[in-house]
Symmetry: C3
């Protein structure tokens, strides 16, 4: 069950409305006028909660569930107790997610932490900044000279928007975020503590130590991008750093200068992408992956967790390991390594020789 | 020696008081009324400093130390110069730590960075927030609607507490920290820049790209938890993310949504725990360890630095490697890998064959 | 081309002035009075832009470039179109960097995000803090009791400077940075969200769980150090954490308590250095490297990306791997591992035996 102190519930939906919304088929005898106001796990639900069931490991909970309604497949539909309104669908989880979005519309993106509208007392907005109507600025936020912010965008408490930055409409800029040297599209979510647009890491060895190579590019963040808490995106050196439309980046991720990330990519937590790397559309990098500089990862490629990518990865391939290699090779080599660890690898390698005796 | 501009010293302790506090036994001729006001390393100490000695590699410094008093074991006690008040104890380091806590009570948790009491001018507290007496709020902090904060808690400069968040007593919430959708116990320390309660990273593939799976859970942080600077803890999706009593988390750690961490765990810097993983009581994860989603790490298990945990780890076991395996296997397999690197592995593998000749 | 909304251009330089500044030799017929106001990539330049060419892979763009001037070597100088003022030099990139520094002097370090001078309305400076003339403090910044800040230093929006902290001259302290228990030299750059001076991670097992070991040291940051966004540097326990002169640290790096980093080191993004490690002058750690506690890395050593350093590394050596070993060993062992993955390793190992048959 969601916590009412954090998530406001509206009037809810009737079982009939849920059927209509999701295309699910109500089971025999399902009371279509029953009111659903919340969602829950199947083993923790109450009578006004919607649950879903699509996997055998949770099926044991179905007979005892106290849920009001359950989205499930034909496989399980017959086993529900009578008080549960069954809603049959091929994709229970997808339907469930759609219902949550209707029940809790405010949870779809971070909202004002001060629940204010317009520009709060205690926010600092430069006189030359241009904010469209319908921008929310929390206390403690600072918006610099010539910044431009589109309607519906929320700037959370303590966020800092630098000179000339442009932010589109319906964005959520999290608490304590910093944005400089950046152009940001519509419906972008930057979670708390993101750092966008600082200097890339570039030095050349001089007579007195390392000298900074000036970073004269920008960060371009396209529509519908989401970036996790405390992640960092450096601006480009001489070209721009670009994050393509719909790409979702998790927490504590590092994106170096000049990096080009395509559309609809997924980068999990603590990934690091070094300078001037390029990542194709729909690529997926699992947690703690590292990508060396100037590497190209092809469209739709998948890289397993903690891998170290030191060579280009062709489109559509699955790679893993340190250093990264095609997954099938990695599994085989690590299987062998594992056997060595168990003490039977050496035997195996020597086996044929021994048999020669 | 501690720096007086950062750490205020009180009146100090006499050698006799230190003996009493720690249960250490004063050596012959130790002046019990000597005043100790600070602590130091044995080779950098002055006459009003307490030092400790419990390891052979520092014993060389004992004859020349200028310290006023030294906590040490029977083994070294006889070698101290006459001007040092010797205090014999089986566990010198433990005794030393206890004395520091008495000498510098203010250093046991982060204090107000503005040295203010009560709510500073320049702090923004929502009119519906409820703060017990004895809460300190630094300038630049923002406390949202319906937040509740217990007595003795310090909210540092620039911290942001979201709507409805509950924080217990005697907590220290660091500068620039963000807390939303969370219930926090007593004596919790969140170091600067922590991000607690933002959306977990959950999307489903839709017709127009990745669609957000709403995150309707909370973060529960139990008593005596400490979380390091710039670490991130996502709130749960449909259940809560929980950090158990007494668990200590280092800097730049990522805790995904729905993660359940037990009591008295230790998670070192840059660890990443993926969504829905569970970690048993007293488990220890060393630096940069990654844990895959839905993994269970048993009570008291130990995972070595940089390991990648992709399978469950039974209680009490020590694992390491990428991918992680039991430590003895890992050491053996990497030993062999290392030998391959040196060029003698292949020889070794071929050895028996050669001998066959 | 740089973006004029983010980078202010001055009057520019003539080709003759660029020749003088860099020591480059103008080609025949180069118009020395041509005005250069910006820099660009060779394939994106316009008539008032300077470009450089030093590598064969960009030489294809030379015949079509629309640049006003090009720094290049003798090898390419003859192939430039007539409208390009050619400037010959042995090190085109170095010369190019020098010119950018003259064209965009403001980009050499982060500047005020509110473009303010002096102490902004909305900044909070404690009455006992001592700021030299010429300090800039952005709105939302908080400067604590007895802090001392030198002339020319910029404190960005939302930064928090704790009690007694000393910061030298001409530093840039980024937005949302926290500094406590630290002494900072001149010309230091801390990028947004850095956390300097919080407690190191040190506990001892007590009867009621883990007890904090007080952290009574400081952080010393010497002249010309640069630290990336959201990086964390813990203060020392009983000695200081020190970052040596000219060392450059990237984003999301963790530096543990008591760590001693030498002069002119380079630490790339997401590196983690555990407590009490020491790193010699001019050492280089690539991205995501982890260094165990109490390890010593010698002067000028180089550690490859993602390596896990568990033993001391001698001065001047190149190491890589997990666990780290000398690079030549690592390449050999992973080459063999890779061959195992491809399925030909076992054959190879067995080869001689088979031949024996």
């Amino acid at each position: 069950m969601s916590e009412p102190i954090f998530f406001k519930r509206g009037g809810g939906l009737s079982v009939g409305e849920i059927a209509q919304l999701t295309g699910a088929e109500p089971g025999q005898g399902a009371r279509l006028d029953r009111r659903i106001t919340d969602v829950a796990q199947i083993n923790r639900a109450g009578p006004s909660d919607l649950v879903f069931l699509d996997r055998p490991q949770f099926a044991q909970h179905l007979p005892e569930t106290r849920a009001g309604a359950c989205l499930t497949t034909d496989q399980y539909a017959g086993r529900a107790p009578k008080h549960v309104a069954v809603l049959r669908t091929r994709e229970p989880y997808r339907a469930f997610i759609a219902v949550t979005r209707t029940l809790f519309p405010a949870a779809s993106r971070p909202s004002s932490l001060f629940e204010c509208k317009g520009i709060a007392t205690g926010a600092t907005v430069h006189e030359t900044a241009r904010l469209e109507n319908g921008v929310t600025v929390d206390p403690g936020a600072v918006i610099g000279p010539r910044a431009e912010i589109g309607s519906g965008t929320i700037i959370n408490a303590g966020a800092v928007i630098g000179p000339g930055v442009r932010i589109g409409r319906d964005c959520s800029i999290g608490a304590g975020v910093t944005v400089t040297h950046a152009l940001i599209g519509d419906r972008v979510i930057l979670h708390a503590g993101c750092r966008i647009g600082q200097d890339g890491y570039a030095f050349q060895r001089g007579s007195k130590g390392h000298e900074k190579v000036l970073q004269l590019g920008r960060v371009i963040i396209q529509d519908d991008v989401e970036i996790g808490a405390n992640s960092t995106v450096d601006r480009g050196g001489i070209r721009d750093t670009v994050i393509g439309e719909g790409t979702k980046i998790d927490n504590l991720v590092q994106i170096g200068h000049n990096v080009l990330i395509g559309r609809h990519c997924l980068l999990a937590a603590q990934v690091g992408v070094s300078g001037s790397a390029t990542i194709g559309d729909f690529a997926m990098l699992a947690g703690q992956v590292g990508v060396s500089d100037h590497i190209a990862i092809g469209e739709g490629a998948v890289v397993l967790a903690q891998s170290g990518v030191g060579v280009d990865i062709p489109a559509g391939e699955r790679w893993g390991g340190y250093p990264a290699m095609p997954v099938r090779d990695w599994l085989r080599s690590y299987g062998q390594l594992r056997r060595m660890g168990r003490g039977d690898a050496a035997d195996k390698a020597r086996g044929p020789a021994k048999e020669d005796k």
